[in-house]
Amino acid sequence: MYGALWRLLPGPWPVKVLLSLVLVVAVVAVCFLWLFPAIAQYMPFNGNSVQTGLPFPAFTTHAT
């Protein structure tokens, strides 16, 4: 996988190294800015409120 990627990158090896770094930074950026924020809300450790929508009429408007 990574071998194939390395062969795919153009130019001499310093250019390949540079391009690899750019790719790594791009992947990290996509994860930090879009992927992780999107999936974080489904993580089991991210709860801080008490469950609502239970038989408490005043609180049923609240989404858990």
């Binding site: 992780f36 469950q51 609180f59």
Partner: protein, 234 residues
């Protein structure tokens, strides 16, 4: 044979990649969310201070200041919470709503519960870890500790009464009279909920505080209320 070797190598590389991505996610959740949330929440507090500020005193002229706080749009910041026990400069925005998005931006107010200073229960939730972790040290709060909620009209000074640790289904902690669902309130309470234990969502650490003083904004907040209690670590 060659195909098998290729397969094993690729599988190994995929597994290593997944491991790195998981590590990256942990780093993002535990470190990066704090970095961005702290910055955003500080900006939100500054914005609130500007809107609350003396420059806007004249245009207020509201007979019943609390009346203006009955309909806050979902996700909007409407108050600043200051907790001297967490540090003299501890200030966080309070926003309407307790969904995931809102809680990444500050402390969330349970819609349907009372607003600051009103009779009933001003109930809020905050992160114990990640996203700026406003309630990181909620377990350090002691009986009598002051919590100041700053709104456009006044400083509402609450004093910590007690805490409980409950499972997340115990909604009676945010009842108008905390822990007495159905009872008719005649006092102004505040309930703060955060996850417990830290890094887990199995339980909730819940603090109850009672309104002890209501100070009009015009006079400013006496510094004595923001004095950091003795015995505060860090």
């Amino acid at each position: 044979m060659k195909g098998l070797r290729w397969g094993v190598r690729t599988l190994g590389e995929v597994l290593i990649t997944i491991g790195l991505l998981l590590f990256l996610f942990v780093a993002w959740q535990l470190w990066w969310t704090d970095v961005t949330a702290n910055r955003e929440q500080a900006v939100a507090v500054q914005t609130l201070e500007r809107t609350f500020g003396p420059a806007n005193l004249a245009e207020r002229g509201v007979a019943d200041p609390l009346a203006t706080l009955t309909k806050v749009p979902f996700g909007e910041a409407f108050a600043i919470m200051r907790i001297p026990r967490f540090g003299a400069d501890f200030a966080r925005p309070v926003l309407q709503g307790t969904d995931h998005d809102t809680l990444t931006k500050g402390i969330g107010h349970y819609p349907g519960t009372a607003f600051p200073g009103q009779v009933g229960n001003f109930a809020v939730a905050g992160h114990r870890t990640t996203y700026g972790k406003p309630f990181s040290d909620i377990d350090l709060l002691q009986r009598g500790d002051v919590i100041v909620v700053e709104t456009k009209a006044s400083y509402l000074v609450y004093a910590v009464d007690r805490h409980v640790i409950v499972t997340p289904d115990k909604v009676e902690v945010i009842a108008p009279v905390p822990q007495h669902p159905g009872a008719k309130p005649n006092q102004a309470w505040m309930t703060m909920t955060a996850c417990h234990p830290r890094f887990s969502a199995n339980q909730r650490y819940v603090v109850f505080a009672k309104l002890v003083k209501r100070i009009p904004r015009a006079g400013g907040l006496p510094a004595s209320f923001m004095a950091v209690p003795a015995g505060t670590v860090g």
